[in-house]
Symmetry: C2
Subunit: 318 residues, 2 copies
């Protein structure tokens, strides 16, 4: 599976989610030439068909064939074995415990030469680092149904021994808290995820729970303010875990909750500043300075997957 | 401050602690040819004089001059600016807020060419990784007065943006716990450090508190067993933080508490296994399998500092 470093020419990256595949065609300078969005079909064969459709739409529009690509990269949820090109435990994709060789299947389907497979949050970290100015040190903190991070450290993706780096959502936040589906108590994910707000602040259902909560808090509703601030404290705890463990320079807030925008950033940096005001040590860590929002409406995971496939990320392959 | 990768010839590494400087002379094959131990004098000038004395004893015994060394590396506590070769906030060394250019001072004192300065826990991680069989992925978890870690990830030291990677001792363990000197509440360091046992199980003063506690627990004293198990739970939490954030392959227990030996390892792996028995997710992370004791009586930080100076650690310089 080895490729030379940094192959020139157009590359395609796909962010394969449970409902949609986001695809980008990157030019030789890593600029986005074209984008596509196709629905995801479930199961191994469905995922491959959806991915192949996305690739073909991009290559057809560019007047090239998949085999002409300098790289084809996938970002997928679940447990990725990058060397084998397999994915397992991607429940949202209809992929279970048995590793599915997505890379090989897609290569066969497209008659192309090489497919790079990575975890979607790692791809997002690499893509966000690129879009935010070719940064070398970025944690992409995904706040969605769950909480987890992708890590680009010193210019290299940190995947880890089992491909499980960034699973901070299952660190305890309140050890006397409720039972988490993972079997532990009071996991951070139960407090800092968008999903955690579905029960706490469902709203009227017209907008996602996080948006409903922040809107209500903005009107001054004291109960909404309290729930929002507790949520922000938990997200701040996620930032603190990432920074005190890895001292990563930037923490980029992504995932569905990111759509709240500036009020989310204000709430999280406000929580970090409150905590730092009581601790010289925390203040010296400059936590609030490190946090920013993921670029809006930019498919960073698809971009990162393309960069990975082309080897733009230094030492991308472990 | 750039040096070519992997310089051959003998190298010296020093682990500069508050009471003693441990020094090693490494041969061309990175084997330990000689060791030395000298008392540490306090303050910048004292530290430089102590370090220089350790180097000269090693080089004199080998019949060479400091200038003949292929590398001279320091592992020091506190905040290290590796590029500048400075150290600050090393209270135990009598070095305060103002950065002290230890590297330049020692170079001048010894008339040698280049001195590499690193945090002592980073040096320990690199040294332990080497001694344990040239491993690429090691967290050195120091359990001493405080709790912190050095990280070697994918064969490279992870120092971080502010040189603060591994400061996990100041992540909250119990948010309703007592005030920590750092200004936060319930920091992990208050539960998982050797220092935390000084108050909880002082013993009769003939041996350090951790040794007294584990000895009493071994006799079946129920109160000692409870304190030991709470301590082990907190150390297990430190392991979990390191692994769920970075997915580091090995966690090496070091610091003063390591001297307890096998009973410490049993207590910590026991705690990890108890936690995993309730959580399929935790079980899948194989936490207990990753933990081992630092090699006994081996000055891993001095060895790692020498390897750093010589560039044996891949991409050692950031």
């Amino acid at each position: 599976m080895e490729r030379p470093d940094r192959v020139a020419g157009p590359a395609v990256g796909l962010d394969i989610g449970g409902t949609k595949v986001l695809g980008v065609l990157l030019g030789a300078d890593d600029d986005v030439l074209d984008r596509v969005r196709v629905p995801t079909r479930s199961g191994a064969d469905g995922v491959v068909a959806s991915a192949a459709a996305a690739v073909r739409r991009l290559t057809d529009a560019a007047g090239i064939a998949p085999v002409d690509l300098a790289g084809l990269g996938l970002g997928v949820p679940g447990v990725v074995d990058r060397a084998a090109g397999t994915v397992a435990h991607a429940v949202n994709l209809g992929i279970g415990d048995a590793p599915v060789p997505l890379g090989r299947m897609l290569r066969t389907e497209l008659d192309s030469t090489w497919v790079s497979v990575d975890n979607d949050l790692n791809a997002a970290a690499a893509g966000a680092a690129h879009v935010l100015g070719d940064r070398a040190d970025v944690a992409y903190l995904a706040l969605g149904t769950g909480v987890a991070a992708g890590l680009l450290l010193d210019g290299r993706l940190r995947r880890g021994w089992l491909g499980a780096a960034g699973e901070i959502g299952h660190l305890p936040y309140d050890r006397s808290g409720p039972l988490c589906p993972c079997g532990q108590r009071g996991c951070l994910e139960l407090y800092a995820s968008g999903g955690s707000l579905d029960a706490r602040w469902p709203g009227d259902g017209s907008v996602p729970a996080p948006a409903a909560l922040f809107a209500a808090a903005a009107t001054g509703d004291p109960r909404a303010v309290a729930v929002r601030d507790e949520f922000a404290d938990a997200v701040a705890a996620a930032v603190r875990i990432l920074v005190l463990t890895t001292d990563v320079e930037r923490v980029v807030l992504g995932g569905g909750v990111r759509e709240i925008g500036a009020p989310l950033l204000r709430a999280v940096t406000g929580a970090l500043e409150r905590q730092a005001s009581a601790s010289g040590f925390l203040a010296s860590m400059r936590l609030a300075d490190r946090v920013e929002l993921a670029p809006r409406g930019v498919p960073v995971a698809a971009i990162g997957a393309a960069l990975a496939a082309r080897g733009t990320v230094s030492r991308w392959r472990s």
